[in-house]
Amino acid sequence: MEDLKEKLKEQIIDRLNLEDVNVTDFSDDMPLFGGGLGLDSIDALELIVLLENDYGIELANPEEGKEIFDTINSLADYIQKNRK
């Protein structure tokens, strides 16, 4: 689980082009949206692509993403339960 969280942080930084952010800059329970990372709606859609591409998880509705993408904890948790 810890490995997955670290990997997710790296993937998020890479896919969302967060050049100014380091893995150490975000904690597992820090809100991904509406907070320090400055992510927006397009980033949320890009995270849906990441889930599908890298973990084989398809979201039927982007609204579902709201809770899943709350924090690294919630995202890792969801992937753990649903990955194929």
């Binding site: 082009n17 397009i42 859609l45 890009e46 599908e52 591409n53």
Partner: protein
């Protein structure tokens, strides 16, 4: 009569402002050139890293014009018209977006939003809180007649100034020229906005 009060060239070899070279590049990598230019601006703007290359070069050119012409801050938020142009629209990002979904891949939303060239104007507007006139045109070559005519038209109408750019980012090449047009010769560059003068400035890179 309207005047060019600042201008800037960015190519894969060098970057100059008002004819003075401020960076030279010893690399073929566009990423490195863009990153070097961004670093030399000495600013922190996290949205920059999300932009496509066209927007990045447009953003950098605008920052360089602002640095050389601090009076730009005194214009009202509706006063500055943004006129940009290039040869191949957003072709480089278009190809990347196409690559994201060919062979059954998932189309990338963050690439798709950059498949319009006027996004560059949006990025500059957001950064500077400029609400003025917008127009992106596509032409084979830098069209000095269009830029001269249309700047003069807008400055005689509802704009106080115009920021213009010819911004091309191809596979391995950057070719960009920016200029800022004002109603008075504020910087005493003695460059009235005329097609011939504009053409001379453009080719003197």
């Amino acid at each position: 009569m309207n005047y060019i009060s600042s201008y800037c060239h960015i190519s894969s070899a060098s970057c100059s402002v008002n004819g003075k070279i401020i960076n030279t590049f010893n690399t073929d990598s566009l990423d490195e050139i863009i990153s070097e230019l961004y670093t030399s601006l000495g600013i922190k703007y996290s949205k920059f890293h999300k932009m496509d290359e066209l927007s990045k070069v447009g953003f950098i050119g605008t920052e360089l014009i602002k640095n050389s012409f601090p009076e730009i801050e005194s214009y009202g938020e509706n006063d500055i018209a943004l006129l940009f142009s290039n040869q191949r629209s957003s072709a480089k990002t278009d190809i990347k977006f196409l690559d994201s979904y060919k062979d059954g891949g998932i189309p990338s939303p963050s690439l798709f939003v950059y498949t319009l060239p006027n996004i560059l104007i949006g990025e500059i507007s957001i950064r500077n809180k400029w609400f003025g006139e917008n127009m992106f045109t596509i032409s084979k070559n830098f069209d000095t007649e269009y830029f001269t005519n249309y700047c003069n038209i807008l400055l005689n109408k509802n704009a106080e100034a115009a920021l213009c750019g010819w911004v091309n980012v191809d596979d391995n090449k950057i070719e960009a020229f920016f200029f800022f047009v004002t109603k008075k010769d504020l910087k005493q560059l003695n460059l009235p906005l005329e097609s011939k003068i504009l053409s001379g400035l453009y080719t003197a890179s």
